[in-house]
Symmetry: C2
Subunit: 243 residues, 2 copies
């Protein structure tokens, strides 16, 4: 069956997450409604990263198959006409017949934006978390270095009964850019609330409330109570998916 | 009476404008409610620029007088605790007894942000207007040059019965910055919807639908129907007030 890939950016502020969920407004729900109207058939999409309520995406990837070939450019125009600028198809292309946005993905990259100015900047309210600063970015990088490699992240994930919390983190780093403090982390996959939990822990280090050298013991505890909760969703964006 | 100056930034997305208006949510309404609670008295504020619904501010200025001296730092903390990051007091200071944020202002500076990327960027949806691009910024600057000086801006203002539409524009310029096209305009005062009308006209020039050399005749017509409407409020911010 002809299979298509949609590259998607969205502002998650007014969505109850990506995944379709009856009775609430979700990105998948809005997208599949438009696809059904344009293609005159029900369409089941597969997604690379199921983002939580309030989380944004710059480089989300979605795939779907249909019985008869379609014009992907027409799909892009139709979705953008109805949903932009809240949800935007940045590219729509034909893919290999067996392409799955979820299973073909080698890794996911997330970014998290922190505003550590003396007072919050209202212009960043939809896309960053304000914390009292200035943050010590060097210390935050020392903390983040402990995430890299294969670990059981049970301390830093919302538990899911019977599922492994072992993940392999490829890269994790903080830097300053355009007045914000930015975190980028790449892994094949993440467990639930993992990025926001990593961020909350690093911010505690950046504020001097926790030493970077205490991070390995927090990971080793495999106990969510040993961590520092989860940073708010507004600062998080699924930045890119690697195939 | 002791008089105070508050420097204010806000995201106007969820407000029906700055000016208090019974029954709707406004910046002034929220601010005066917090001031009354903190200072245990009704407070009447004066503002430098009455922004419209959906318009933002980076450097709004508000003044108010009270019977007995207060601690402005306490006011700043109290307002930010209740309203940040949507409304943020960036500074609160004692001012001269006769200071008026409105009447002491020499000029106002506004900025307008346009996103002219091939597809809209959802990250800019709260703070920029997306138009099909790329825009010709040189042509937009040629158009804007015609605004500078004293003119009757009746074509480029929403009419207000019996009020002059003559204004003196000091500077008006466009440039590219961080992937957006930015307009900055400075004048002692603006009439209603004037900045957004200037922007809409320049964008028509930037899209090649109107020649910059046609702008003087549009101004001279003193007829709102000769112009090109008003750009949406989300792209506009009161950037600074000069005293």
């Amino acid at each position: 069956m002809p299979t298509y890939r949609i590259d998607l950016a969205y502002d998650g502020s007014a969505f109850r997450g990506y995944a379709a969920n009856p009775g609430v407004r979700t990105v998948q729900g809005e997208l599949e409604e438009v696809l059904a109207a344009v293609l005159q058939q029900e369409v089941s999409t597969v997604v690379a990263g199921r983002t939580d309520a309030g989380v944004h995406a710059r480089g989300q990837v979605v795939s779907f198959s249909v019985e008869v070939a379609i014009d992907p450019a027409r799909v892009q125009r139709a979705v953008n006409k109805r949903l932009a600028p809240e949800v935007v198809v940045t590219a729509a292309t034909e893919a290999a017949d067996d392409f799955s946005a979820r299973f073909a993905a080698r890794s996911r990259t997330y970014r998290y934006f922190v505003d550590d100015a003396g007072v919050p900047d209202p212009a960043r309210r939809w896309r960053a978390w304000h914390v009292p600063g200035p943050l010590d970015v060097d210390a935050m990088n020392q903390a983040a270095a402990h995430f890299i490699g294969e670990h059981d992240f049970a301390s830093l994930c919302r538990a899911a009964e019977g599922k492994t919390t072992i993940r392999m983190v490829n890269t994790a780093a903080w830097w300053r850019e355009n007045g914000a403090v930015v975190f980028e982390v790449n892994a094949a996959a993440f467990c639930h609330q993992m990025v926001r939990s990593l961020v909350a822990l690093c911010v505690e280090v950046g504020r001097g409330r926790l030493g970077a050298e205490e991070v390995p013991a927090i990971i080793d505890a495999r106990d969510r109570n040993a961590a520092r909760g989860a940073a708010p969703p507004s600062g998080l964006a699924l930045w890119s998916v690697e195939y």
